[in-house]
């Protein structure tokens, strides 16, 4: 079986030997060398592997490759191209000192990006609720919330 989808804006096609049950995460990391997306638990609990499929956050470690057929997949590497400036979310995370070890940060960045792209009004509680699936062992989450709320406020007083 082969599956066609866009990955960070580029059309691609992947051959999968197993019946499409290969995890999206292993394809991203092993076939495409996109190691920004992390394998924190492999059991759908930590969110370090969060990517966006058609704009919705999913845990790539459990997400079957078959499900991304003809979808649009975005990973942390696709937020800002290597030579491009950081996105507002990425920049706010750094300005707020929200990054520590950073192992959760690719997943957190994807979740916050999805939240801020579709919500026109974001409260602290919205951010906390959105981050339910993203475990961070370092930061205590406060600075993620501050960073996300500041982005929402900057982009036209949505807060």
């Amino acid at each position: 079986m082969s599956y066609a989808f866009t990955l960070n804006g580029q059309p691609i096609e992947v051959e999968a030997d197993v019946a499409g049950m290969t995890s999206l995460l292993s394809v991203l990391r092993e076939s495409f060398g996109l190691t920004g997306t992390k394998l924190g638990c492999g059991e759908g609990r930590c969110g370090a592997c969060t990517v966006l499929v058609d704009g919705t956050p999913v845990v790539a470690c459990l997400y079957p490759l078959a499900n991304v057929d003809s979808s649009d997949v975005r990973t942390v590497e696709g937020l800002a191209g290597p030579d491009e400036p950081l996105t507002e979310v990425q920049s706010a995370l750094l300005d707020h000192g929200a990054v520590q070890c950073g192992a959760c940060v690719p997943g957190v960045s994807m979740t916050l990006t999805a939240l801020l792209e579709c919500a026109d009004h974001v409260t602290e509680d919205d951010v906390r609720a959105a981050l339910t699936g993203n475990i961070c062992r370092c930061t205590g989450y406060t600075k993620f919330v501050e960073a996300a709320v500041s982005v929402a406020a900057d982009s036209g007083g949505r807060q």
Binding site: E43, Q90, H96, G97, C101, G102, A103, I135, K143
Partner: protein, 763 residues
């Protein structure tokens, strides 16, 4: 612009938000095989048979290693050498390694593990530390007497180590007591659960091992790997990629020696990465503890004497820091309040359970939990206010800690006063509502005193490179703190200070990221190197500018004559000149904390004897308990923390927020349960970590009481915020429900039980 005191963006931040930073878990080498470790399913057994011959012939299998390949015995910090890499003859915990395999693919490695024939004859596991210490208990290490130790230590049978502090005349004080109060507390194992699991990639070349591993403490991994494999430390090179969290869990070897042995035997690089389940089952957590306290008090609330017994579950061997840190529990019990007469015994006990190790704060969180719940008990007995009894006994200028060390200022009192301005106690007492509670806890903590070193050079372009083995575990100590110090010292931009990735071949010795020591210890070592680099720069500049070195200043990447900013020469030009005259500019430096004076005579078996660069803290929490479900909600949390000097306030805040939340997890739900010797919570569904919705608002006030030997006065800041959290939460819940909680975690079930018990006794 100076860098110190500013919230500069961390040097590794862009890579981390772009996903381009390569962590230990992302690292691999061309042709790397996959390594897997076969582990015992039983907690205690004789190994009757271990046959790898079939496995060795399976497709893709390139090497199998067993006990004969790793002859050495070792132990964390080389304190008590009771650990072999693979179980020999006897298995001492479920999860102990029996063999390791390297194969072309993961599936092949797993198939080979399954094909290793293992016959285990079960032994009766010794699981309870109290039971382990009884006379008839089976010895977990029958050969315990033969083990090497770093210093002679009190130990016998299942008592792996004992440390004692005895001060004053305890028995006499108890006789004069107005009241004697006694309690027992029990606490659970807490797992570090860094998001990045342990990972190691090793290769063997020219008779040496090179291993890439996200360790907090490269020199420990080097020494411990060498000892287990029976080679010299210099035969092992440890290189550290980015680290995805540690919290103490990555101080010690885990997978490195396995990867090394397999690399040697297969002639190929070998990569091993733990699954989350392997992390939880085999990577050493904070130990479970039992604390028994007995205190003599006077009518006015003065502590006259205290006896304490701390029992720490070492697990099956001393591969973690539990032994090395035994005495910290006693020191913590006797360094926040005046305890003029004290007898503390800290016992580290073998059990047939996975070994335990350091997790941020080591035994501090449960010792403080015990002391504070106990103080509330005393206050109840005396009808005293909970804050008053703390202030009454609070240690201050001129007092001595239980080890005889003098307290360096009234800083605990200042922390309590600052907290009072933020959360006025009487006001909160007066506005108390049913099932709401609050509590306040002061605590003294330490900075790790360990050695660090650095070498520093001025580059051709005027930037500065520091070679160091100090590791960045996420706190920002290397990514911001030490760079800020060096930037200001040499008058260069923060971004022009580069720090090499840790590598034991090129970096000098460093005691690793532990006990908040990196900005303090590694920072001091860099400043020492920087002084010499600065002198060399000034010498060259003095010639070029025809001025005396004393009249020169460094700023904005150049040297100028004081008061004459136009008479200047850039660092790039100085570098070029130096390389043609006095030689390239480079220097090295080192640091170890100066000794403190204390009374060594009152302690036996103490490996941690005193507090270096002590820090002072006060925490407060308000909680609400749902009497129907037992659920505890933390409404507001407040931290006052003395950091000596805030090099990067934003990073310190981050450490406080993160430490508090880890403490909340420990206080309320994290619990690595071990039943029948087996870890029950081997996934993140049953091991509950704090999520964003769990975190309360945290108010923070940072105090600066500079340490005379800290870099610009800085002391450790990252470790302590977790230390008093369980105590504050425990005391606040007890206040809310009007009944003590003497065990952690304070689960809804525990709360309901306490409420029911209280209801019954009231009826």
């Amino acid at each position: 612009m100076t860098a110190v005191g500013r919230n500069v963006r961390r040097a590794d931040g862009e890579g981390k938000v772009r996903g381009s930073v390569r962590y230990g878990m992302d690292y691999t080498e061309l042709g790397a095989l996959t390594g897997k470790v076969l582990r015992s399913s039983l907690p205690a057994a004789r190994i009757a048979r271990l046959d790898t011959s079939t496995a060795a012939t399976m497709p893709g299998v390139r090497a199998i290693a067993t006990a004969t390949d790793a002859p050495g015995l070792s132990g964390m910090f080389f304190v008590l050498k009771d650990q072999s890499l693979f179980a020999r003859d006897e298995v001492r915990y479920a999860g102990e390694a029996l063999a390791a395999v390297a194969a072309d693919t993961e599936a092949q490695a797993e198939a080979a593990l399954a094909a290793i024939e293992v016959v285990l004859d079960p032994l009766d596991p010794v699981l309870d530390p109290d039971h382990a210490l009884t006379d008839g208990a089976r010895l977990i290490h029958p050969d315990w007497e033969s083990y090497e130790t770093i210093v002679p230590g009190p130990r016998s049978g299942n008592l792996a180590w004992e440390s004692r502090i005895e001060r004053g005349d305890v028995d006499a004080a108890f006789q004069e007591a107005y009241r004697v109060v006694e309690d027992e507390f029990r606490t659970q194992r807490q797992h570090q659960n860094s998001i990045e699991p342990h990972a190691a990639v090793a290769r063997y070349e020219e008779g040496r091992y090179t291993v890439h591993t996200p360790t907090q403490f490269p020199f420990n991994v080097r020494g411990r790997t060498a000892e287990l494999l029976g080679v010299r430390p210099s035969d092992v090179r440890v290189v550290v990629p980015a680290i995805g969290g540690g919290f103490g869990g990555k101080l010690d070897i885990m997978l490195e020696p396995f990867a090394c042995v397999l690399a040697r035997k297969s002639g190929r690089p070998v990569r091993i990465v733990n699954t989350r389940s392997e992390e939880l089952r085999t990577c050493a957590p904070r130990e479970g503890g039992i604390v028994r306290l007995r205190t003599a008090v006077a009518r006015d609330g003065s502590i006259l004497a205290q006896e304490g017994e701390i029992i720490a579950d070492n697990g099956a061997n001393s591969s973690g820091e539990t032994v090395a840190c035994a005495n910290a529990a006693s020191l913590v019990l006797g360094s926040t309040y005046r305890v003029p007469n004290a007898r503390y015994v800290s016992k580290v006990v073998y059990t047939n359970t996975p070994p335990t190790a350091a997790f941020r704060g080591v035994n501090g969180p449960y010792s403080v939990f015990a002391q504070e719940m106990h103080l509330d008990h005393i206050a109840r007995e005396l009808g005293m206010d909970r804050r008053d009894i703390r202030l009454h006994n609070l240690i201050g200028s001129g007092d001595v800690m239980v080890n005889g060390q003098e307290v360096d200022g009234p800083f605990l009192r200042e922390a309590m006063d600052e907290l009072e301005t933020m959360r006025p106690w009487q006001q909160l007492q007066a506005s108390k509502r049913p099932y709401r509670g609050h509590a306040i806890v002061p605590v003294t903590w330490l900075t790790n005193s360990g050695a660090g070193s650095a070498s520093m050079k001025l580059n051709e372009d005027g930037t500065v490179t520091v070679a160091s083995a100090a590791t960045e575990i996420g706190s920002g100590a290397v990514a911001t703190g030490v760079r800020q110090l060096v930037a200001d010292q040499l008058g260069v931009d923060f971004h022009d200070v580069l720090v090499t990735p840790p590598d034991t071949d090129t970096g000098g010795y460093d005691l690793g990221a532990q006990g908040s020591r990196t900005t303090f210890g590694a920072g001091n070592a860099m400043i020492d190197a920087g002084k010499k680099v600065r002198e060399q720069i000034l010498d060259v500049a003095a010639n070029l500018l025809e001025a005396a070195p004393e009249d020169l200043e460094l700023a904005d990447g150049s040297v100028h004559v004081q008061g004459v900013p136009d008479r200047r020469v850039g660092l790039a030009a100085i570098s070029a000149t130096a390389s043609m005259t006095s030689g390239p500019i480079i220097a090295s430096g080192g640091f170890v904390a100066p000794p403190e004076s204390f009374d060594g005579g009152c302690m036996t078996g103490a490996l941690l004897t005193h507090f270096t660069a002590a820090t002072y803290h006060a925490h407060h929490a308000e909680v609400e308990v749902d009497p129907d479900t037992g659920r505890v909600t933390v409404l507001r949390y407040t931290v006052v923390q003395d950091v000596g000097r805030a090099i990067n306030p934003q990073m310190i805040e981050g450490q406080i927020q993160g430490g508090v939340v880890q403490g909340l997890g420990y206080a309320l739900y994290e619990n690595l349960r071990v039943h029948g010797g087996e870890v029950v919570d081997d996934n993140l569904e049953s091991y509950r970590l704090p999520i964003a919705a769990d975190t309360p608002p945290i108010d923070i006030s940072i105090l600066e009481n500079p340490c005379p030997y800290g870099p610009l006065g800085a002391k450790g800041a990252a470790e302590p915020p977790i230390v008093p959290v369980a105590a504050v939460i425990g005391c606040a819940v007890a206040d809310a429900i009007g009944a003590p909680v003497n065990e952690l975690p304070v689960t809804p079930f525990a709360v309901l039980q306490a409420l029911r018990k209280q209801g019954e006794s009231a009826a």
